[in-house]
């Protein structure tokens, strides 16, 4: 199993490449979801206030 992680001695390049790629992707995904949640809650709050008038 450890041979797999060693990546024939190139572990220092293969794993960071995948790690950084999925860090970038995770960043995009989390940002998108967070921004969507914020927009939804803000809209709900404003609509509630509008309806409450």
């Amino acid at each position: 199993m450890s041979a797999f992680f060693a990546m024939d001695g190139y572990a220092a390049f293969v794993w960071p490449a995948y790690a950084l790629t999925f860090a970038g992707i995770a960043g995009l995904v989390i940002l998108a979801i967070k921004r969507r949640k914020d927009a939804e809650s803000r809209l709900k709050r404003l609509e509630a206030e509008e309806a409450g008038l």
Binding site: F4, M7, D8, Y10, F13, V14, P16, A17, Y18, L20, T21, G24, I25, G27, L28, V29, A32, I33, R35, R36, A39, E40, R42, L43, L46, E47, E49, E50
Partner: protein, 251 residues
């Protein structure tokens, strides 16, 4: 066809269907692609295991270019027909495209180091990608610098179209600049020259990245629509409070 999707309700119905499928598709494709790329596909006789970096490096490059093409086309649609949705698409595509371009450069460096002994190689493709990243940064900086939303959208669309028109010329001039000195770069990864055992995992990973970008763009566009509706309500609220304030003063 474009005006069909122009009105938000029809887009919202479409997005509500596409977005979950896109997220799901991306997850499934990554679930298949990753083990295939990391374990199942054979190492390269020359590059040994480092060839696995190709499975994230190449899709990033393709998606960075595809996203910029999308940015250019949606800017053209916004500039000519003034469909707000096209502008929303552009605003959703730019950051994702920039991230993919940056990822392509980073993974390119990580791939080049073991093979050529240098973190950065002024290879024609990598250099073009660097210029593409600059185009993205220029677009995002321009939009951020303009407060008025309509002006930012129009100025952004003009710059994105200029970028798209110039992209082939830039690519040509970088290739021209590069071929005079270095032999064609070692990475031969475009098209059929690579073995089927590598072509399949690469295609799956490329599809996974594409599904991911689709999900990101649709989701961001829906968020931007919500933010716009919230902004309208907020402005109405401000006008109401201002009216109440002045009434209080008038009595």
């Amino acid at each position: 066809m474009f005006s069909y999707f122009a009105n938000p309700e029809r887009f919202e119905r479409l997005a509500r269907v596409v977005t979950p499928w896109a997220w799901g598709g991306a997850a499934v494709l990554f679930a298949i692609g990753l083990p295939w790329a990391l374990v199942i596909s054979p190492p390269d006789y020359q590059q040994s295991e480092t060839v696995r970096i190709m499975y994230v490096h190449v899709p990033s490059a393709w998606l960075a270019m595809a996203a910029y093409a999308g940015l250019g086309v949606s800017s053209f649609i916004y500039f000519i027909w003034r469909h707000n949705l096209a502008d929303l698409a552009a605003r959703a595509l730019a950051p994702a495209g920039a991230v993919f371009a940056a990822l392509c450069l980073v993974t390119g460096a990580l791939w080049g180091r073991p093979m050529w002994g240098a973190w950065w190689v002024w290879d024609a493709r990598l250099t073009s990608m660097l210029v593409l990243l600059l185009l993205y940064l220029g677009y995002m900086a321009l939009r951020a610098a303009i407060e008025d939303e309509k002006l930012a959208a129009r100025a952004g669309s003009i710059l994105a179209m200029a970028g798209l028109i110039n992209l082939p010329i830039i690519k040509f001039s970088v290739d021209w600049w590069n071929t005079l000195h270095q032999p064609a770069s070692v990475i031969r990864f475009d098209g059929p020259t690579i073995h089927a055992s590598k072509l399949w995992p690469l295609s799956v990973m490329a599809l996974a990245f594409t599904a991911l970008l689709t999900a990101l763009v649709f989701s961001t566009m829906r968020t931007l629509i919500l933010e716009r509706r919230a902004a309208v309500l907020e402005r109405k609220r401000e006008q109401r409070l201002e009216a109440e304030a002045s009434e209080g003063f008038a009595e």
